[in-house]
């Protein structure tokens, strides 16, 4: 049997007495976009942190192409093909927009330990970075400092860094939160473009139900750290557990 791209087995983390993610087992297949939904504080971001290695698991495993990566540090998992965009914008504030993306391109190219050549001399890396900036409609802001960008533009840059890693697994954590209405389509189009590629796996944490409905091939629901529903979008959205847990409608019967 072939392995799923990504699998979590009984993945758990405890903060003191609080179990933020509780024994979540789930498999993710390429060519699909899985939406992860749940109320605030459900553990969605924490689940992401466990998968991409920002937090150490208290119990359980993360498997990448069948390989156990639970003990690998975050950078190692990134090199193995996991890419992450953060819910809270997480950039290099005093570097330019282009430098931010360029750092991601360079990480992907494995050129970070080059001490001898000039940063400015790697035309191919710069071109690539410019290209990713153009895809999130940020090309004009290339020389601005990341800290000078508007909130919406910072969100776009966050997404550009993820694109530039060219990962197998894209993890978006509320990519459009706080963006103005006219900026959102750029990002959504990008995500749906990625999911067209048969070898890419997309995980998307998203609160907006219309976005989830239009993009997701599958929805999983987290509630108080537990996986409470998993299935096709229409089915999951209609299920009583979601109506109650996520939308706050009390379940009947």
């Amino acid at each position: 049997m072939s392995h799923p791209v990504l699998e979590t087995r009984g993945l758990t983390i405890r903060f003191g007495g609080h179990v933020a993610v509780n024994a979540v087992s789930c498999r993710f297949e390429p060519g699909t976009l899985t939406a992860i939904v749940g109320p605030n504080g459900a553990g969605k971001t924490t689940y992401f942190n466990l998968i991409s290695g920002q937090l150490p698991a208290s119990a359980g495993q993360v498997l990448l192409h069948g390989e156990d990566v639970t003990r690998d540090a975050a950078p190692v998992r990134t090199r193995k093909g996991m890419g992450r965009a953060f819910q809270l914008t997480n950039l290099f504030p005093n570097l330019t927009v282009l430098e931010n993306v360029r750092l991601a391109v360079q990480a992907r190219a494995g050129m970070g330990l080059n001490l001898i050549s000039m940063w400015n001399s790697h035309i191919e890396l710069i071109d690539k970075a410019e290209n990713f900036l153009a895809r999130v409609a940020l090309a004009e802001r290339r020389t601005a400092l990341a800290s000078e960008l508007s909130h919406g533009d910072q969100r776009k840059l966050e997404v550009a860094l993820l694109l530039a890693l060219e990962p197998d697994i894209f993890m978006f954590d509320e990519p459009t939160a706080g963006m103005s209405v006219d900026e959102v389509p750029v990002i959504l189009d990008l995500i749906s473009e990625i999911k067209q590629q048969k070898d890419k796996t997309v995980l998307l944490v998203e609160h907006k139900m219309d976005v989830v409905r239009s993009l997701a091939d599958r929805i999983i629901v987290l509630h108080q750290g537990e996986l409470v529903a998993d299935g096709a979008p229409a089915e999951v959205i209609a299920s009583p557990v979601v109506q109650e847990a996520y939308l706050g409608v009390p379940a009947r019967g």
Binding site: A73, V76, T78, F92, N94, L115, M118, W119, N120
Partner: protein, 338 residues
């Protein structure tokens, strides 16, 4: 050609370019422009400290590593050359051997300190370097058979270096060359990762950079250059002792020079070291003249008495840090941008 030498990192400010050029010309022609032992001594010290401070900027300004062990590496270089030259034939072979051994020791120490402690919080790293450096200073004074204890080591130099001018140009040439190497390193793909680590280590890790490797490497590079600066300084002084290399007050001087010049700019090291070393050497005299001229006016002669020079140096630094928090280079570049 010039862009290549400067690694594409132009001064980006006309005043700064002029200042740097003036310092370069002054240092390059020092033996002819300022005849006399004292001025040449000051010029050589500027060269050594530019290099030492630039290597510290690699850590503090570019990588965000706070280390107090920089004078230890400076000292290792000084003692390496001094011990070799005092125990062997005073030739180039001894210099080479002493330098290589010192660099190897610095590499090993900086690697170990880096590997064991760069994972921990910055403040703990700073404490550990402080402890290691203090331990090393005590060790140097205790092993007096080897290091000359508090007296240090005076030694002979090879024939060629008995000429002050020749020695000066060795110091100047090596310092300039290594400065350009540092400038290249900070403007390389590696150098940008260091900036990324300074800006947001968490995100650098998420992009796939194993930051502990980068920090350790930066730490080692800084240590090696500091060691070479120490070797140069020893050759210039023909002496190495605790007070010329290991003293904690030198560590404070380095910190001040980096901050005054402007952290994370490399050129700040040039400006900071030049101003500081010149002030350290000539402020006292300037005050003496001033105090003399003020004779008869109440209070002023006392206030500017040469013995107060340290006080005034302190005042100058507080003012400069207060008014130019980004250092002189940062200030000059910001003005251009505005």
């Amino acid at each position: 050609m010039i862009a290549g030498l400067l690694s594409g990192d132009a001064p980006r400010s006309r005043i700064l370019s002029a200042l740097l050029l003036a310092i370069l010309v002054a240092l390059a022609l020092a033996p002819f422009l300022f005849p006399g032992t004292r001025p040449l001594d000051v010029a050589a010290k500027v060269c050594v400290f530019v290099l030492l401070v630039a290597s510290y900027d690699l850590l503090l300004g570019y990588t965000g590593i706070v280390s107090f062990a920089h004078t230890m590496f400076f000292g290792i270089g000084g003692y390496g050359v001094a011990i070799a030259l005092s125990r062997m034939e005073p030739g180039w072979g001894a210099i080479a051997l002493g330098t290589v051994a010192a660099v190897a020791l610095s590499l090993a120490l900086s690697f170990l300190v880096g590997l064991f402690s760069l994972r921990v919080k910055a403040i703990f790293f700073a404490m550990i370097t402080l402890a290691v450096a203090s331990f090393f200073a005590i060790l140097a004074s205790q092993l007096s058979d080897f290091t000359g204890g508090e007296d240090g080591i005076t030694f002979k130099v090879p024939e060629l270096l008995r000429s002050r001018v020749a020695t000066y140009y060795l110091v100047f040439g090596v310092a300039l060359g290594l400065f350009l190497v540092l400038l290249r390193i900070v403007n390389s793909p590696f150098g940008r990762v260091l900036l990324a680590i300074r800006e947001n280590e968490f995100r650098a890790e998420a992009l796939g950079y194993r930051t502990v490797i980068y920090r350790t490497l930066a730490n080692c590079l800084g240590a090696v250059v500091a060691t070479l600066a120490g070797a140069l300084y020893a050759l210039w002084l023909r002496y190495t002792g605790p007070n010329t290399t290991l003293d904690f007050s030198i560590m404070i001087d380095i910190l001040l020079m980096v901050v005054i010049g402007g952290m994370g700019t490399m050129y700040g090291a040039v400006i900071g070291a030049a101003i500081f070393v010149v002030a350290q050497n000539y402020l006292q005299e300037a005050m003496k003249a001033f105090s003399g001229a003020m004779q008869g006016i109440p209070l002023l002669p006392d206030l500017f008495h040469p013995d107060r020079w340290l006080l005034w140096l302190g005042v100058l630094f507080v003012l400069s840090v207060y008014y130019f928090p980004a250092g002189i280079v940062g200030q000059l570049r910001a003005r251009k941008k505005a």
